[in-house]
């Protein structure tokens, strides 16, 4: 990481601590904001947050690894999550998965080489009456067909 990137991240984290406070209960909201901006929480970010909250960096790491939406490794700028749970599975989610994989030229769990997309599976999104469903970043899309699924991918990156 370049030095100026480090300082700007450090500043950003300082601002988050100002916003949420330095009690342990601020941890998830702080991590969520870092995640949503950078798509992962780097070692350096973990150390900075640990320093502010006065806990061990490894504690932060253990929290990050626990939650499906927090990552300690870099991911694509857009994270696509296809629901694989039973109701969407029965609505032929596999055809959505295949269409997305073909379109982006990668397999589930992978990131495109231009870093635009990571695609992965997720468990039930609570949209089972409108399956197959998928999320792209914070948005959700339902009643997908292979065609509309791919259309949404392109819409999101604009």
């Amino acid at each position: 990481m370049l030095v100026f990137e480090k300082t700007s991240l450090a500043e950003e984290i300082e601002q988050l601590i100002e916003k949420y406070g330095n009690a342990r209960s601020a941890l998830l909201p702080v991590l969520q904001e870092i995640q949503s901006k950078h798509r992962y929480i780097s070692d350096y970010a973990q150390q900075e947050v640990a320093r502010h909250l006065k806990i061990q960096p490894v504690e932060i790491y253990s929290v990050i690894t626990f939650y499906a939406f927090l990552n300690s490794k870099p991911k694509g700028r857009n994270i696509v999550r296809v629901c694989k749970t039973i109701s969407c599975d029965m609505k032929n989610k596999i055809s959505i998965v295949k269409a997305v994989e073909r379109e982006l030229g990668i397999k589930m769990g992978e990131t495109t080489s231009d870093n635009k997309f990571t695609i992965e599976y997720t468990n039930c999104l609570g949209l089972c009456d409108e399956g197959p469903a998928m999320g792209i970043n914070e948005q959700v899309f339902t009643k997908l067909t292979p065609e509309t699924a791919v259309k949404h991918l392109h819409e999101v990156v604009g």
């Binding site: 342990r24 909201p29 929290v63 939650y67 039973i86």
Partner: protein, 401 residues
């Protein structure tokens, strides 16, 4: 917020005016409210079915500097989406239920634990809270009631099914991994930040304003003798009209299938992945605490579905979602999934499968929390109820029948 579609129901999906429940509640004493809820016989709608008045009375009796009201909006059980519909279309009911709970137990703080997957709902909820503060339904001296202060904030999860378990939820709020705690102590004594806390489901809170306005007796008239009131059902799978429905407790599976336009149904999974799989021969059974209890997830399978694949999907879910803290659940679910794969690949022996069934029963008693205690349910019920299909159908195909 605009109602997305016409919904009809006797309680939750009936007409309601913002503020009505809170105003009525504040004209009553705390004890009146607790007894009204007691008369309603309302039980928790999150799945466990614990009497709401008992929980609230314990929290009310606890003496502490702070108390908390937590709304469990983690809704992660496969096939459940009714809490989403309530939060999007009826937020006033949920928030007012929390305010009334706060008044009854003596809490000033409400927290909605919203699952990370529902982040897109957050903004409209925040906006709604702002409006309620303007209307003095939140904040200080609510609706002019001297000394009653209450406010609600939204806390976002980061995707972990186990965080729906109330003690894991509290761990998560406190900035930890969502690992279930030993109970006792229960959250009503030692909850968020060590303070008395009542954790209730979204739907549970949403029932409360109606109960306060119309009375506990009125509510208790719906449903069956042992299961009072109405229930929201999240219906998905093989049917013409998947949706959220409000029906009285006691509806039979046959009646339910008829209403949602399900044809050639072979099985119905009641209660999500951690529930039980009901075969056709038992479709006259009632959905009620005294027969088949549920948090409301109904997944319908028609004759063309392969029940072993269904089971595999559920077991993969539990292997991923176990918090890993205790051995029966962490190792047990992996073993059960391996067993399903053995059947799939025709590498099983019945002797080994019987051992796995015993393992499932051990998990039901030895696991630390509800996840591990209930995850073997579908393994046990599907292998038992669909054994002909699972162990026998290959032969039929090979014989060219």
């Amino acid at each position: 917020m605009e109602k997305l579609k016409e919904r009809n129901g006797k309680v939750l999906f009936s007409n309601y005016t913002l503020g009505e429940g809170v105003r009525k509640a504040l004209s009553l004493s705390r004890d009146d409210i607790l007894f009204e809820v007691k008369d309603s016989k309302l039980k928790g709608r999150g799945g466990a079915g614990f009497p709401v008045s008992t929980k609230w009375m314990l929290a009310a009796a606890a003496i502490a500097d702070e108390k908390y009201v937590i709304c469990n909006a983690d809704e992660g059980e496969p096939g459940t989406f009714k809490d989403r519909v309530l939060l999007v279309e009826y937020p006033e009911l949920v928030f007012e239920g929390m305010i009334i709970a706060g008044y009854a137990i003596g809490a000033k703080n409400g927290i909605v634990y919203l699952r990370g997957e529902y982040e897109y709902i957050r903004k409209s909820l925040e906006d709604f809270l702002v409006q309620m503060r303007k209307d003095n339904l939140l904040g200080k001296n609510i609706c002019g009631k001297e000394g009653f202060d209450f406010d609600i904030k939204i806390f976002l999860g980061s995707a972990a099914y186990i965080c729906g378990e109330e003690t894991a939820l509290i761990e998560s709020l406190e900035g930890h991994r969502g690992e279930a705690r030993n109970r006792p102590p229960y959250p009503v004594n030692t909850g968020y930040d060590g303070m008395p806390t009542s954790v209730n489901n979204v739907e549970t809170f949403a029932c409360v304003p109606h109960i306060i306005i119309n009375g506990g007796e009125w509510y208790n008239n719906f449903g069956t003798k042992k299961s009072s009131g109405t229930k929201l059902f999240s219906v998905s799978g093989d049917c013409e009209k998947p949706d959220v429905y409000e029906w009285e407790w006691g509806i039979t599976i046959n009646e339910l299938l008829e209403k949602v336009g399900a044809k050639n149904t072979k099985a119905v999974q009641v209660g999500g992945a951690s529930g039980i799989c009901v075969p056709k021969s038992e479709f006259d059974r009632k959905i009620a605490y005294e027969d088949i209890p549920t948090g409301g997830s109904i997944i319908i399978f028609n004759e063309n579905r392969d029940m072993l694949k269904v089971l595999k999907n559920f077991m993969e879910f539990f292997v991923e979602e176990s918090c890993g803290q205790c051995t029966p659940c962490r190792i047990g679910n992996t073993k059960l999934l391996e067993g399903v794969e053995m059947i799939e690949n025709e590498e099983y022996t019945f002797a080994y499968l019987n051992k796995l069934k015993d393992l499932g029963k051990t998990m039901q008693v030895a696991s630390k929390c509800g996840l591990g205690q209930s995850s073997p349910n579908s393994f046990l019920s599907i292998l038992e109820n669909f054994k002909d299909e699972i162990f026998y159908h290959e032969a039929g195909v090979e014989n060219g029948n």
